[in-house]
Symmetry: C2
C-alpha cells in the first residue's frame, strides 16, 4: 500500500507520560510555542502520519520527547467530544506511558522552558480537555497498578522493596504496612534478588531487586493474576 505522506488532520495523539521521583508522581508537559494556547503548558502530542500506524505514531512522539524507545506504553482512550478543540473538529487518542528515572532526562532539543516534569499535585490548568484526559489517566493508573505488575516501569531497573512500597503509596494515596507489603510481594515470586545492595545510605542497606518478567509470564500462563 502506498499513501501520500501527509497527515490525518482530524485525529491527534496526546501523551500522558508519568514519572516517579521523590515519592511523588510526575507528568510531562510541554509549553505551546504558537497558536491560541501559546505559552500554556499542555500534554505533549502530535499528528498521526498518513503512512504510519497509530501505535507507531505514539512510539515516535514518545521517543521525540524522551529519547527512549522501549518505554512502557498503551492506549488510554479516545477523546472525541465535538467541541473539545477550538475551530475545527479534532479527535484525540490518549497514550499512557511510564518512564523509569534513568530515562527522566528530556531528549536533546527540549529545554526546561519547552518541556518539563510537573508534580501531579502541581499541574496547572491545561488547555482543551487536557485536564480531563489527565484525570482519566490517573484513574487508569490507580486501577491498573493494582491488577497488573506495571509499577516497576516507574522505578529504576533495580530497586528496593521500600522504593516499591513508596511508589504504591503514592499512586494509591494510602499507607501500607511494611512487613506485610514485603511478604506479599515476595510470595508472588515476581522479584529476582540481585546480589547488589543499596549504596550511599546512612543506615543498613537494602537489597536490590529486579522485576522478573520471565517468571511473571510463566505464572500468568498458569492462571496467576497479580493483585495488590
Amino acid at each position: 500500500m502506498n499513501f501520500p505522506d501527509n497527515n490525518i488532520d482530524a485525529l491527534s495523539i496526546d501523551c500522558l507520560i508519568f514519572g516517579f521521583k521523590k515519592g511523588e508522581l510526575d507528568i510531562l508537559l510541554v509549553q505551546h510555542g504558537e497558536g491560541i494556547s501559546k505559552g500554556k503548558w499542555a500534554l505533549p502530542g502530535g499528528w498521526i502520519r498518513y503512512n504510519e500506524s497509530v501505535n507507531d505514531a505514539a512510539i515516535r512522539l514518545l521517543h521525540d520527547l524522551t529519547g527512549v524507545s522501549n518505554i512502557y506504553m498503551e492506549q488510554l482512550a479516545v477523546f472525541g467530544d465535538v467541541d473539545r478543540y477550538p475551530q475545527k473538529r479534532v479527535i484525540t487518542i490518549g497514550y499512557f506511558a511510564l518512564v523509569k528515572p534513568e530515562n527522566y532526562k528530556l531528549h536533546a532539543g527540549f529545554t526546561a522552558s519547552d518541556a518539563n516534569w510537573f508534580k501531579l499535585s502541581e499541574v496547572p490548568a491545561l488547555p482543551y480537555d487536557h485536564n480531563k484526559i489527565l484525570n482519566a489517566a490517573v484513574k487508569h493508573l490507580k486501577h491498573k497498578v493494582r491488577h497488573e505488575p506495571i509499577g516497576f516501569n516507574l522505578l529504576p531497573r533495580k530497586f528496593t522493596l521500600h522504593q516499591l512500597q513508596e511508589l504504591y503509596e503514592a499512586v494509591l494515596e494510602t499507607k501500607l504496612d511494611k512487613p506485610n507489603f514485603r511478604r506479599k510481594l515476595m510470595k508472588m515470586n515476581l522479584l529476582a534478588a540481585s546480589k547488589e545492595k543499596q549504596k550511599d545510605v546512612s543506615h543498613r542497606a537494602a537489597s536490590l531487586y529486579k522485576f522478573d518478567k520471565r517468571s511473571y509470564d510463566r505464572l500468568k500462563d498458569r492462571g496467576f493474576t497479580f493483585e495488590l
Copy 2:
C-alpha cells in the same frame, strides 16, 4: 460551534456486542450488502458524524442495531494499522457492549440475513482486522469480568446464582465450585434478593437476585473492589 453535517471519513466505529444465551457467549455480526466484502459477515459499525461526539456515535450505532439505548458500553481500543482497510486509510474505534437477553431481538429493519448472533465458537473469518478486534474484545471481557461487576449486563435483570455462575464459567472457560461461588458473591453484598423465584423448572426453584448498583457504588466509595 457549528460544523457541517458530514462525516470524518478516516475514522470509523466498530461495535463488539456481546450476548449470553444457553451457556454460551454470542457476538452480533452484520452481513455486508455492498462493496468489496459483500456477503461477508463483519462487525457492525459506521461513521462518526461531524457534529456528534465519538461516544454519541457509538450510542447511535448500538441503538440502530439493537433498539436499546441504555446498553452497557465502553471504548475498547483504537485499531490503526496502516493497511487494516483496503484502498484508503481508515482508523477504527472499537466499542465494547453487553446486552441482556431481554434486548436480544434485533431492531426492526434488520432480518436474520442482515444481522445475527453468532456463538463465539462459531464466528466465521471476518474481513479487515475484525477477527483481531474481536480477539481483543474477548480478552478484555475475560479480564474485566473478574475485576468489575459487569457480568450482570449479560443476564436478565433478575437472575439466579446458577445463571451467574454459568456466565462466569463461560467467560472464564473454567468450572467453579457452586457453594463457594455462592458464598463469595453473597458476602460481597452486591446482590439484592427479590421475593420471586425461578419459574417453569422441574426441580426446586432458585431465588432470583438483582445486581444492586446502589450498594456497589457505596462500597466502592469505601474502597471495596470487586474481585473474582
